[in-house]
């Protein structure tokens, strides 16, 4: 039982990273109806920025904070410069633009920092603690806390501030918001900025255990997509629940089903996802899209 709970806890830590990135995807999806395929590469890029900052002698948390700011500005800039010109074009066009961004950023990261794996410091002690017979590493605990704290801060922002309210209004109806005098374009840019910061958190939390290379977030992005779709692509709560569930699921499946083992986790997780979606296409918490003719 203790061994099982241990897998659950490390699954939760893994899942918290998926949840952060999934939330970033949902954030953008809700406001712009775009699934941002470049979200993972944006996160990788900012994680490398954090690595460079720390290499310049900055200690962890200042570098962390500075990276969030850089990510925010970068994300907003991406929306203004790259997404805006195709804003009103068909969905497929915008998706392809984000795929272009994925390819370009992946190449750029490799170009600037090289393809070799880099060690990324962790702010948490490399020790374990025992709670009721379950061994928990501080690393897992720290990752879980940071990710959940970020999610909470974000929730409070959307729930209690005027700016958050305005952004929710934009996600709800751009036309109505524009008529109310909201500068919709800037709100969208703000959303992209927040999503990029969220992605940066995920990247910096993933890097110490997954090691830092230009493909750091590729697999994590797919899990996060899966988490977002599982939770319902338009539901922030769903993204978090989906992420945590998926994290636990792959850890438990990988440990206890021999056939799956370490290698087949990804295909197994996606099969589960596919089955859920066939029964409930809108995901666990999502809204069914009603089409009127």
């Amino acid at each position: 039982m203790a061994a099982f709970l241990q897998q659950v806890v490390s699954g939760l830590a893994q899942g918290a990273i998926f949840a952060s990135l999934a939330l970033a995807l949902v954030l953008i999806y809700r406001s712009t109806d775009v699934l941002n395929f470049a979200q993972g590469e944006m996160a990788t890029f900012t994680t490398f920025v954090a690595w460079s900052l720390m290499n310049q002698g900055l200690s962890y948390w200042p570098a962390f904070a500075l990276t969030l700011v850089i990510a925010f500005v970068g994300g907003a800039a991406v929306e203004r410069i790259i997404i805006r010109p195709v804003e009103h074009r068909p969905e497929i066009v915008i998706v392809i633009v984000t795929i272009g961004l994925l390819i370009a950023l992946n190449g750029l990261t490799g170009w600037i920092w090289g393809a070799e794996v880099k060690a990324f410091d962790s702010p948490f002690p490399n020790e374990t603690t025992e709670v009721a017979g379950v061994v928990i590493s501080y690393q897992d605990l720290g990752v879980l806390c940071v990710c959940l704290a970020t999610v909470l801060v974000l929730w409070a922002f959307f729930r209690f501030t005027t700016l958050g309210l305005v952004m929710r209004a934009v996600a709800n109806s751009q036309d109505a918001s524009r008529l109310m005098g909201v500068r919709v374009g800037w709100m969208l840019a703000l959303g992209w900025g927040l999503a990029a910061s969220l992605g940066a958190v995920a990247g910096m939390m993933a890097a110490p255990t997954a090691f830092l290379d230009p493909n750091l977030m590729l697999v994590i992005l797919i899990y996060s997509f899966a988490a977002a779709v599982l939770g319902g692509i338009d539901s922030p709560v769903g993204a978090v629940v989906g992420g945590l569930t998926l994290g636990v699921l792959i850890n438990v499946l990988g440990t206890y089903v021999d056939f799956i083992g370490g290698e087949l986790r990804l295909p197994a997780a996606l099969t589960v996802l596919l089955l859920v979606l066939l029964v409930r296409p809108q995901g666990l918490f999502g809204h069914r899209v009603v089409r009127r003719v």
């Binding site: 699934l35 395929f37 790259i82 010109p85 195709v86 074009r89 969905e91 497929i92 066009v93 998706v95 392809i96 633009v97 795929i99 272009g100 961004l101 994925l102 390819i103 370009a104 950023l105 992946n106 190449g107 750029l108 990261t109 490799g110 170009w111 393809a115 590729l218 697999v219 797919i222 997509f225 899966a226 779709v229 692509i233 290698e263 087949l264 990804l266 295909p267 996606l270 596919l274 979606l277 066939l278 296409p281 089409r291 003719v293």
Partner: protein, 365 residues
């Protein structure tokens, strides 16, 4: 039919004949290495035709086309090795694989195509129920899972080491090298499949696909069954991918999981877009870009220095974004635009400067 319509109608066949002549004469001016590169271009043309049918005509994004090429490649490799070939690899093929003594490579192509088409059709049934975004995710997942699965089931696929084949010999006692034979074989098949795709997208099938792409509700009300036609598009595009995979494995006589990374799938989509979605003429350009851009972006001609090995990705990505913003029709769209300008200029010249509205030569298809 006025002579002008006649002229316009004959442009496409004329261009096709021109392309055939160029392809036939090209080997005279090339060494073995260039020949190999241009054979790969033919293979990419086939893969991109399939992807264009799926994404360009039926409007569904596939980020997993590379995996379907991989399925075709593995099927062809297994068929041409046969059971004795696998045992030579110290592999123990399970009994359910009915592979005998190995086939001539060229005969593996149609079987690989049919198997891949069937696999695509089957995967398409649940995947298409998801629609739009989930489909992109599902295909991306397939692309990521494919190399993992090939490594995992090593008793059939040879695992990470992959499978080696022998280069086939030129048949019929023809007096050309194997590379030349493979070049003509690949381009002949590419040509046939190009015409087949052209026939498909011009006819009933293409109309149904485009109607779903441009408005599903309207399509349904006109009696088009979206699920059927979308799955069919998936099957057809996988069939094309299977042919490409089989030809690839014959040409490079080697297959392993890392031949089909996720980036292959993504770059295939990028090239399809650069060539032009929803227009077959751009496919050749897309294939040329896919083959030669990685080489020339790294070692730019005329410039005295090399770029990083990552430069091709940056150029590909930036190019993709710029094309989507500035030129959504891709290369084919550019051609069409130029043709329109040319047409208008000729008309003005003929009609002696009278104000004539320039008729749009844009056609949906």
């Amino acid at each position: 039919m006025s002579w002008r319509t006649l002229l316009r109608k004959s442009i496409a066949p004329a261009l096709f004949v021109f392309a055939v002549v160029v392809v036939a004469l090209l080997p005279r001016f090339m060494g073995e290495f260039r020949l190999l590169q241009f054979t790969l271009v033919a293979i990419y043309v086939i893969a991109l035709l399939g992807l264009n049918i799926l994404t360009g005509y039926s409007g569904q994004i596939s980020l997993g086309h590379g995996a379907f090429v991989g399925v075709g490649a593995y099927v062809a490799a297994l068929l041409s090795l046969g059971r004795p070939g696998l045992e030579l690899y110290m592999l123990d093929p399970p009994d359910w694989i009915p592979i005998g003594d190995g086939m001539r490579p060229v005969f593996t192509i149609p079987i690989a195509a049919l198997v891949t088409g069937f696999v695509g059709f089957i995967i398409g049934i649940p995947a298409l129920r998801l629609g739009g975004i989930s489909l992109a995710l599902a295909t991306l997942a397939i692309a990521v899972s494919f190399p993992i699965l090939m490594k995992r089931f090593a008793e059939v696929t040879g695992g990470g080491g992959g499978l080696n084949l022998n280069l086939p010999e030129t048949p019929f006692g023809w007096d050309i090298s194997t590379r030349h034979w493979l070049y003509y074989e690949a381009w002949a098949i590419a040509g046939i499949l190009f015409v087949a795709a052209w026939v498909m997208v011009r006819g009933r099938l293409g109309r149904a696909w485009r109607s779903i792409r441009d408005g599903e509700v309207a399509a349904v009300s006109s009696g088009v069954n979206p699920a059927l036609y979308e799955t069919l598009a998936f099957g057809v595009s996988s069939f094309y991918a299977g042919v490409a995979g089989a030809l690839l494995v014959i040409e490079v006589s080697f297959v392993n999981p890392d031949t089909f990374p996720v980036s292959l799938s993504i770059l295939l989509l990028a090239s399809a877009v650069i060539g032009g979605l929803g227009a077959l003429s751009g496919v050749i350009f897309g294939a040329l870009v896919l083959e030669f851009l990685p080489v020339y972006a790294q070692k730019p001609p005329l410039l005295p220095f090399d770029f990083s090995t990552q430069a091709p990705s940056v150029v590909f990505g930036a190019g993709l974004i710029l094309i989507m913003i500035l030129l959504p029709g891709g290369f084919a769209g550019l051609l069409r635009m130029l043709a329109g300008v040319f047409n208008g200029a000729v008309r003005r010249l003929i009609e002696g400067g009278r104000q004539v509205p320039v008729s749009s030569t844009r056609r949906n298809g």
